[in-house]
Amino acid sequence: MRPAKTVALALLGLALLWSAPSLGDSDGWYKWQVEDATSELYVLKKDDQPVSIRMFNPDCQTWGHKGQGISGEITDMGTLSLDDSVTMLLDIARSSELDKDVREDALFWLAQSNSDAAYVYINQLLFDS
């Protein structure tokens, strides 16, 4: 019974990992247009890991990319549902092996998402640990 449970848990873990939109192979900025939120989500990948996150919306466009620390080539990844963007940010925030800065970036944008899932996580962080 124990091997079966292990396999089931591994599959569940894989499924959870699979649920988050993934980044491309090369290093650099990746961009998604987030549906229903009129926002653009930017994730910087370096050495095979997300290291920085930025979110643009029409209100802060005047800052421009450079003002937000975005430079170099940007890979357009198309559109992403709001739920999927939250899932991606949750995955990053929860990944204790990632750099603290990128996890904090994710946490910041999660709080702005107004998503129930994001607030369940924030409540867990503050009150369940």
């Binding site: 603290k100 946490l107 910041f108 999660l110 709080a111 107004n114 924030i122 962080l125 503050l126 640990s129």
Partner: protein
């Protein structure tokens, strides 16, 4: 001590250090989660902040929660901040009071007057700081104008000086007359008219304390001309010496000529 015991000790220490670091990381991450609420929708953020303030959390986390509350700018958040300032005690109470200053909500600021009157020295100091932060010179003027306590008056006047509240300081001068603290506050406030008055304040002073404060005020304001004018018009040798000392402290260019003249006995 045998090697096995030493190894066990090292392992235990490592475990404790790792555990302590992990706890610090957890607390940092909790802090980030709370800070992230600063730009979150208030209806989402407020219940969480209230829960943090009511719960068994660290003082640091609660202080940050008070800051978030001060930035929400909703009637509910300001009411909550004021309730916390009224009902809590110690460091968190004074922090809540200062946060009302940072928030700058006029109604909440006005409510601090009652807290000031019933509060201890720490609360009163925090209320004055809140008014200073909010640049509410009128509220500090009210405190200075209505107190019989000399120390309280001095604290309020000192703050008005730091705020450059010339109008309020002049009003207090008209009502209460001159005092040492008021003279210094006038000098600190940079009120040019008041600084020019320091010369006549010195000349007309009836007490040594007022004379000393006028000289100190001239020094604070960097009013070399006024100080030189007093030196030249001083008849008393002790007064001349005292003014000369101030001119030395002010690093006035003419001071060495004056000292030479004084030594030669020609002045």
């Amino acid at each position: 001590m045998n090697n096995s015991f030493k190894l066990a000790m090292v392992a235990t220490l490592l475990l404790l250090t790792t555990s302590s670091l992990a706890q610090t990381d957890d607390e940092d991450f909790r802090m980030t989660a709370l800070e992230a609420l600063i730009a979150a929708p208030p209806e989402r953020a407020l219940p969480i902040v209230e829960k943090v303030l009511a719960g068994n959390h660290s003082t640091d986390l609660k202080e940050r929660a008070l800051f978030i509350l001060s930035q929400m700018e909703t009637p509910e958040s300001q009411a909550q901040l004021l309730a916390f300032a009224n009902d809590s005690q110690g460091g968190l109470q004074t922090e809540a009071i200062r946060m009302i200053g940072i928030g700058g909500d006029k109604e909440a600021l006005a409510s601090l007057g009652q807290l000031y009157r019933g509060g201890d020295a720490n609360v009163r100091e925090a209320v004055l700081e809140a008014y200073l932060i909010a640049d509410d010179a009128a509220a500090i003027f009210e405190i200075a104008a209505n107190t019989d306590d000399e120390e309280e008056f001095e604290d309020a006047v000192e703050m008005l000086g730091a705020m450059g509240a010339n109008e309020q300081l002049r009003e207090l001068r008209g009502r209460n007359g001159l005092s040492e603290s008021l003279i210094l506050a006038l000098a600190i406030s940079g009120d040019a008219e008041a600084v020019n008055d320091l010369v006549s304040i010195y000349q007309d002073a009836e007490t040594e304390e007022i004379k000393d404060s006028a000289l100190e005020g001239l020094m604070i304001a960097g009013h070399d001309e006024g100080m030189l004018q007093l030196y030249r018009s001083a008849g008393d040798a002790a007064d001349k010496r005292q003014i000369l000392e101030y001119l030395v402290m002010m690093d006035n260019e003419a001071v060495w000529d004056l000292i030479d003249s004084a030594l030669e006995g020609s002045n």
